[in-house]
């Protein structure tokens, strides 16, 4: 399932990383934050990058709008080679790329309307155009009544909605989101993610979202790159990644999803069941009910001891660990039938 994205340029490819590395410091103290990374993002996609803190995600996303320069390799965005643009020529490109930050980074000296209007001033919009656009955006993010409020009068979720309105103001082609929900509680996270999804679906904006939270990727990403120690170690559609996260050890997704029982879980499970343990990966959660229902026909009983069904932005998938009890050949018959709906792995206890 690991898909290596080749560097060939498609017409609708907005972002292209080709052999990009970024090293901080020199000599013995050098840190390779991004290590020989290649990938592409097409127009209209939501591209997620996930990895632990320190994996190099922020460095990676900041190279898209030239806030950071690669040490080697090329970054091409909207047809321009960002890595070679001078600080003077960067603003033009940046005006076409919105960015949202973990800490919101709202101007404390400006009210909500002033924050949203700022990029429009930079882009040279007239006063009346700005006013109209600000009204429209505040409506989009549901903050029309807060136009005159200052950042300190807003909740975290409201601040991030202002951040998103500001990032969308100048009608960018691309929206970069650096841990846009990591400072928010779960309910507010959902609200902000829904907004990002709407920006993608209703405004057609291409989004690159980096995060250490699986939930974010699961609910908005079309394609995902998994980053570890500066490298992209897995890429694929969100669906592929979640429905078949590879084998436990070493797979970030498998570890982060905790889709399979670990040693502690197994010890607990073993205390109250003696059945054969299998993990079923379902690429499509539909149809599983019928198969599970057939357990009775095989004369076996089962219990779901770990995992469950879930959804990505556009599909459903499941990762279930079952303890199946019954006569050995009957259990085998049931497992064979399970293989018909998904990938089955034995779990060694």
């Amino acid at each position: 399932m690991t898909r290596t994205v080749t560097a060939e340029a498609s017409t609708d490819r907005l972002i292209e990383f080709s052999g990009v590395s970024r090293v901080y410091g020199k000599g013995a103290a050098a840190v390779t934050a991004v290590d020989d990374v290649s990938f592409g993002v097409d127009r209209g996609e939501v591209f997620g990058v996930i990895g632990f803190s320190g994996a190099g995600k922020s460095t990676l996303i900041r190279m898209i709008n030239g806030l950071e320069k690669p040490t080697s390799g090329t970054v091409t965005v909207l047809g321009l080679e960002v890595s070679r643009l001078s600080e003077r020529r960067l603003p033009k490109l940046r005006a076409r790329i919105g960015m949202v930050f973990q800490q919101f980074n709202l101007f404390t000296s400006r009210n909500v309307a002033g924050n949203v209007a700022y990029p429009l001033k930079v882009a040279g919009w007239s006063r009346s155009e700005r006013d109209a656009r600000v009204t429209e955006l505040l409506e989009f993010v549901g903050l029309s009544d807060k136009a005159g409020h200052y950042p300190e009068q807003l909740s975290g979720g409201q601040k991030q909605r202002v951040g998103i309105a500001r990032a969308l103001a100048a009608e960018p082609d691309i929206l970069l989101a650096d841990e846009s929900t990591s400072a928010l509680d779960p309910a507010t996270t959902t609200e902000v993610l829904r907004l990002l999804r709407r920006a993608n679906e209703e405004l057609g904006i291409t989004i690159v979202a980096i995060t250490h939270e699986m939930e974010v990727i699961r609910s908005i990403a079309d394609r995902v790159a998994v980053m570890d120690s500066g490298r992209i170690i897995e890429t694929g559609t969100a669906h592929d990644l979640f429905s078949d996260p590879g084998d436990g050890e070493g797979s970030f997704v498998a570890t982060a999803l905790k889709d399979r029982p670990d040693a502690d879980d197994l010890a607990r499970i073993r205390r109250h069941t003696a059945g054969r343990l299998v993990t079923v990966s379902l690429a499509d959660a539909g149809g599983v009910g019928r198969v599970l229902g057939s357990a009775a026909n095989h004369g076996v009983s089962f219990e779901i001891v770990h995992g469950g069904l879930s959804t990505t932005k556009s599909s459903s998938y499941g990762l279930l660990t079952l303890a199946v009890e019954g006569a050995a050949d009957a259990v085998e018959g049931f497992v064979v039938e399970l293989r018909g709906v998904g990938q089955v792995r034995e779990v060694q206890a």
């Binding site: 490109l93 940046r94 960015m99 800490q103």
Partner: protein, 228 residues
């Protein structure tokens, strides 16, 4: 108590009244003149120190090293010594080495570099994230300085400049050493040198009132800007 009241009742107000008024105007002139020019140059210096440092929007190491060196060089020189030391320059620029204009020239030199540091310190308190946000929007460097960095630090800057004005009033009390006027000179010449403590206290009261007014206005403005 009666003694004090009598002392002021018997004071020759016909003479001291106009003298005190003139001295007050002179102090205001010295402070305003040096503040307008020194404050402006100091602001430029502070912004230069802040923006040319590595990671700043105008990052430029030679420029930063030079500015930092000059500030560190001149700032510690005591006012009286500096005024004496730059006499030749003062005569060149002002046309004379004495009088209120010469004092202002000296006060500018003595305050500008301290103001630069005060400005720099206040700019340091800005969240770098907002500058990054402006950069990400495609704002140019000078636009960022004028529309992000200065507005974001405006409240603390107002308090810093309030402090500077009061320090300048303090400095202006030494104007007499090169023939300048003001309340300090009034207190020394009319009061101290003639053993008239009650005259010294006239200057003290006026100075206290002026300083309080400046502080109150400064606090009010800063509170308004910071919305507290």
């Amino acid at each position: 108590m009666i003694g004090i009241v009598d002392a002021y009742r018997e004071l020759d107000w016909g003479y001291y009244g106009p003298e005190l008024l003139t001295a007050t105007w002179e102090t205001l002139y010295l402070v305003a003149g040096s503040f307008l020019i020194g404050g402006f140059i100091g602001l430029l210096l502070g912004v230069t120190l802040y923006t040319t440092r590595s990671g700043g929007v105008l990052a430029n190491r030679p420029m930063w090293l030079l500015t930092n060196f000059v500030v560190n060089l001149i700032r510690p020189i005591p006012f009286v010594i500096l005024v004496a030391a730059i006499q030749p320059l003062t005569i060149q620029v002002i046309g004379t080495g004495i009088g209120n204009q010469a004092v202002i020239f000296g006060m500018i030199w003595a305050s500008t570099f301290a103001i630069g540091r005060i400005v720099e310190q206040n700019l340091f308190a800005i969240d770098p994230g907002v500058i990054e946000a402006a950069r990400a929007m495609g704002a140019g460097r000078f636009r960022i300085i004028l529309t992000v960095i200065l507005p974001e630090a405006l409240g603390p800057l107002i308090l810093g400049f309030t402090f500077v004005i009061i320090a300048l009033a303090d400095m202006s009390a030494m104007a007499g050493i090169i023939g300048g006027g003001g309340l300090g000179n009034f207190a020394i010449v009319e009061g101290y040198q003639r053993f008239r403590t009650e005259v010294i206290w006239l200057a003290v009261v006026v100075i206290i009132i002026l300083v309080q007014l400046v502080q109150i206005v400064g606090n009010m403005l800063a509170r308004k800007v910071m919305r507290r």
